[in-house]
């Protein structure tokens, strides 16, 4: 299954490490009381601190610290009880202070790991190097006016977590799985909403290649600011192939920052000026070091929700789900909750199957998330109850389900309204069978001569006669008895 690029000189593998910027879910910014809400009018969520007015000072938002610790715990990482905010100095028009407050020397979270489930059923740990907190910059808009640039400082000072991954990723697919898993963990924890299209999660990807079997790493290129899982995967593929071609044509990869152009399907170097900074990091003298107690960390640990890995294990153990189904269901916290609502007191495998196949097909088709599902978990549960108590057949249940999708109604109401109740009345079914046997002597002969397939034809006829409402089990039993004579 390994991802290999077949070059002219042999097989190559790709080595990737991701740096993910995740915007922390908090009411207020990291160092000021301004709101963090997305989509407000430009420059309406800017405090004196965010605008770096003279004499203004940052004050740490304790909730952001808590969110970072929570995330660190979710990444099974070491929480550093002592961390320090540093200033990263550079000039840009959307960076009012002239420095970004970040954590270089003493990040709040140390090493951890994220487990990804590969399609072949195995799983793999992707190492986390560190997680540090920092402020976001404002937004520059260069396309509003031919001569001027506009600045929106709403985002200035919003709290980000930068999660630096180890170079453990070996394929675009693993990168995609890693990002999705991170996003899932964030959402379970409620520490980042993970909405890449709104920019609340962005990734920089370090890519290098090496011959299969080669030790050590070759020079890497950094692909900046990728804002979708798809782009990350495409960018890695494109960049890895570029590097292979370069090596094979006698060139060398230079360490540089590159941009991925998704429209052209290529990466190209950023202008040196755009990144050649000496950031002159030093501890921010306006802030005290962040000193946490073990009790504080434990308190947060105790309040952690069940995370996807644990939930998956539980779904397998408690509900007897396959690892695959369990993995699919826990990928989204809401899906797992939906599942549990449906499965509780019912057949969990049946519940899983309905959700992962029938419901997901509908949601995909309509482009909806599970919490926007037209069929509520409660109603899907009731539908399964109707199957279980024999009110409707599995096949009829599908019809009922699609009516539920269209109307959002309770399945029992639909069954009543449409007269879809299953016919289990043996007398009624027997009469239909008797009529069929009497009128179709040729088919009866074929069955008795050993052609079992003819049975299916009879079932079809019975179902047609009952508009699909005949109980298949009853039909089967009666039909065989009667056909055999």
């Amino acid at each position: 299954m390994a991802y290999v690029i077949e070059g002219e000189t042999g097989k190559w593998e790709v080595v990737c490490g991701l740096e993910v910027h995740a915007q922390v879910v908090s009411q207020a910014k990291l160092f000021s009381g301004s709101s963090t809400a997305f989509g407000a009018e430009p420059n309406t969520q800017v405090s004196l601190v965010d605008a770096a007015m003279p004499g203004m000072l940052p004050v740490i938002n304790a909730y952001c610290i808590e969110q970072a610790v929570r995330t660190g715990l979710g990444l099974k990482a070491k929480i550093n009880l002592f961390s320090v905010f540093d200033r990263k100095n550079y000039f840009y028009a959307d960076l009012p202070q002239g420095y970004q407050i970040s954590q270089l020397y003493h990040p709040i979270v140390g090493e951890g790991a994220v487990t990804i489930d590969l399609p072949d059923g195995t799983s793999k740990d992707i190492g986390i190097e560190r997680l540090h907190m920092e402020q976001d910059a404002g937004k520059s808009m260069h396309d509003q006016d031919p001569r001027r640039s506009f600045i929106d400082l709403n985002r200035s000072g919003v709290c980000l977590m930068e999660i630096v991954g180890k170079p453990d990723i070996r394929s675009p697919e693993e990168a995609g799985l890693y990002l999705r898993k991170l996003r899932s963990i964030f959402r379970y924890l409620g520490t980042c909403d993970g909405n890449m299209e709104e920019g609340s999660m962005r990734a920089d990807v370090n890519v290098s290649v090496r011959k299969v079997g080669e030790q050590g790493y070759r020079t890497r290129a950094e692909l900046k600011n990728l804002n979708s899982v798809r782009f990350v995967m495409q960018a890695i593929e494109v960049e890895a192939n570029r590097q292979v071609d370069l090596y094979e044509s006698g060139g060398t990869v230079v360490q540089e920052t590159r941009l991925f152009d998704s429209a052209r399907g290529e990466t190209r170097p950023m202008r040196r000026k755009e990144f050649a900074h000496d950031y002159r990091y030093f501890p921010d003298p306006d802030l005290l070091p962040v000193e946490l107690t073990q009790e504080y960390v434990e308190k947060i640990r105790c309040g952690l929700p069940e995370l996807p890995d644990e939930k998956k294990e539980r779904f397998i153990a408690e509900f007897g789900l396959t690892p695959y189904d369990a993995g699919v269901l826990v990928a989204s916290k809401r899906a797992s909750e939906y599942f549990e609502t449906v499965a509780r007191g019912r057949d969990p495998k049946q519940a899983a199957s309905w959700i992962t196949t029938t419901l997901y097909a509908v949601l995909n088709d309509k482009g909806l998330e599970i919490d926007q599902s037209p069929v509520s978990a409660e109603n899907l549960g009731r539908l399964l109850d109707l199957i279980a108590d024999g009110t409707i057949s599995n096949r009829l249940a599908k019809d009922v389900f699609f009516l539920m999708v269209d109307t959002g109604k309770d399945p029992a109401a639909i069954v009543e309204e449409k007269g879809m109740r299953q016919v289990s009345d043996t007398g009624a079914i027997e009469k239909i069978i008797d009529d069929l046997i009497a009128g179709n002597a040729k088919q009866v002969e074929q069955f008795r001569a050993g052609n079992e397939k003819v049975k299916g034809w009879f079932v079809g006829q019975i179902m047609r006669a009952t508009q699909g409402k005949a109980n298949p089990a009853v039909v089967n039993e009666l039909l065989v008895t009667k056909l055999k004579g």
């Binding site: 003279p54 203004m56 000072l57 009012p96 002159r280 306006d286």
Partner: protein, 493 residues
């Protein structure tokens, strides 16, 4: 009558206001008139007589209703133009803050305002508080009201030079200063007044234009130690908007002076007897020790072995922090903007023209010491030395209750002197910088006149958050010195 009203101490004026001898408005008018006559000294960047009259009237109104807010209610003061004042031009004495009127009031100036103090104007200073002579101001140098026997125009010291000169010239009763490496104490010494830099963390830095965040501290400047204590109490207090402000109770500092120093141990740091100290300053220092001995204190020699590294350490840390703190003055949002063809060119034009030479020099030094490859050798090492300097003091304070040193190695010098040699200029702060690096309280007390008829100051240094002992020792020195000389500007005009 006018003369009398400007010659009083704050304590005397408060008593006079209390007795109804005069109104706050009369007191304010007397000082406004004095300021108008003293414009040659260039103490103010912005005079605010209308605000002063309004506040004075409000003070009188409160007093009439029996709602006076304490000893500062109705007292005319100057506010160093490093404190942001709501709706009032705030410049840091720099061209780069042209036209900047903050929509907010610094915590310290707000607390003084709320205590009833009447702001007469924004005092001149060295640009961004960088200097020891008040000659780096974009608004021109301040003249010391003392001219001495040579009759020259002298510097008032810096960076709080406008504040010190205004207090000494009797055109305000007190002033706020800020002290990063000696900017309250050295000008206080040069102008013959008292000034205290409290412990780092006592006063909120919120709303004070930052120079070096880990060193900047606000403090009062006044004509007596008691007046400093009266001003200091309302200036202090924990401010949740400044993470470095200490969550610690503020004592009533006004109760500290007047106490006895009997039995106190006062340390004389051996390392402060350095080459180049003038004989008269060495003599004054010995005299100060003798006064304290006579008052019942025990004088003990102590060692602060890392003193000689203090100045070098300071001139790495302070510029490093400044280079970053001043990055926000970029022409984008407020103050001066000098256009350019590109964003970078706009930065270069704005910052090149907006900052004065000394500010540019310190930004360059600071940028250099933080640069990749130099950080460990300069900034990191300086931080380690800073810790050693602080430990020197800690050790000394195991044996003594306070330290006595000169405030500055020389009396005030002529305007323009030392300006071509930054190192000589930086040496002015040799006795004050170690205290700043250690974050300790330091008070300068006028203790006598030198041979040229110029005031000389003694510095009392205390344990962290022990301003009370510092003030107590300071007042004993003040009493013993009986310093009553008036600057030539006051006696001769």
């Amino acid at each position: 009558m006018t003369t009398d009203l400007t010659r009083m101490t704050i304590a005397e004026a408060a008593a006079g206001l209390g007795r109804g001898d005069f109104s706050a408005l009369e007191l304010t008018e007397a000082h406004i008139a004095a300021i108008e006559k003293a414009r040659a000294l260039n103490c103010f960047i912005t005079e605010t007589p209308d605000i002063a009259r309004e506040r004075a009237r409000a003070s009188d109104g409160r007093r009439a209703k029996g709602e006076t807010r304490g000893p500062l209610d109705g007292i005319p003061i100057a506010v160093k133009d490093l404190f942001c004042t709501e709706g009032v031009l705030t410049t840091a004495a720099s061209h780069i803050l042209d036209g900047f009127k903050p929509p907010y009031e610094s915590t310290v100036s707000a607390k003084l305002r709320d205590a009833g103090a009447v702001m007469l104007g924004k005092a001149n200073l060295d640009q961004f508080a960088m200097g020891s002579s008040n000659t780096t101001s974009h608004y021109g140098p301040v003249k010391n009201p003392w001219r001495g026997s040579a009759g020259k125009d002298l510097v008032p010291g810096g960076s709080s030079g406008g504040s010190a000169a205004a207090v000494a010239a009797r055109i305000v009763m007190g002033a706020t200063g800020t002290d990063t490496g000696g900017s309250i104490r050295q000008p206080a010494a040069f102008c013959g007044i008292a000034g205290i830099k409290p412990t780092y963390g006592r006063c909120s830095r919120w709303g004070i234009v930052a120079f070096a965040s880990s060193l900047d501290q606000a403090g009062p400047m006044a004509r007596t130690v008691r007046d400093c204590a009266l001003m200091l109490t309302p200036m202090c207090g924990h401010d949740p908007r400044d993470s470095t402000s200490a969550p610690i109770e503020t004592p009533d500092f006004a109760a500290a002076p007047g106490g006895s120093v009997k039995g106190l141990k006062i340390g004389i740091p051996a390392e402060y007897r350095m080459d180049g100290m003038s004989g008269e300053i060495a003599a004054l220092w010995e005299q100060g020790a003798q006064w304290l001995r006579e008052a019942g204190a025990e004088i003990v020699e102590v060692s602060l072995p890392h003193t000689r590294y203090a100045l070098a350490t300071y001139y790495i840390i302070a510029p490093a922090e400044a280079s970053s703190n001043l990055a926000r003055y970029d022409g984008v949002r407020y103050g001066l903007r000098v256009p350019g063809e590109s964003l970078d060119e706009m930065y270069e034009n704005t910052r090149g023209q907006g900052f004065g030479a000394e500010v540019r020099r310190r930004i360059l030094i600071g940028t250099y010491v933080l640069s990749a490859g130099y950080y460990d050798a300069y900034y990191k090492k300086a931080q380690r030395v800073r810790a050693l300097i602080a430990r020197d003091f800690e050790k000394a304070f195991e044996a003594v209750d306070a330290l006595l040193t000169p405030t500055a190695p020389t009396p005030a010098f002529g305007i323009g002197e030392k300006s071509d040699d930054p190192i000589t200029m930086y040496l002015n702060d040799v006795f004050t910088v170690p205290t700043s690096l250690a974050g300790l309280p330091g008070l300068s007390v006028p203790a006598g006149l030198g041979a040229q008829g110029l005031p000389l100051g003694l510095q009392v240094i205390g344990r962290p958050f022990d301003e009370e002992t510092v003030l107590r020792v300071g007042e004993v020195l003040e009493q013993a010195a009986g310093f009553s000389a008036l600057p030539e500007f006051v006696t001769e005009g």
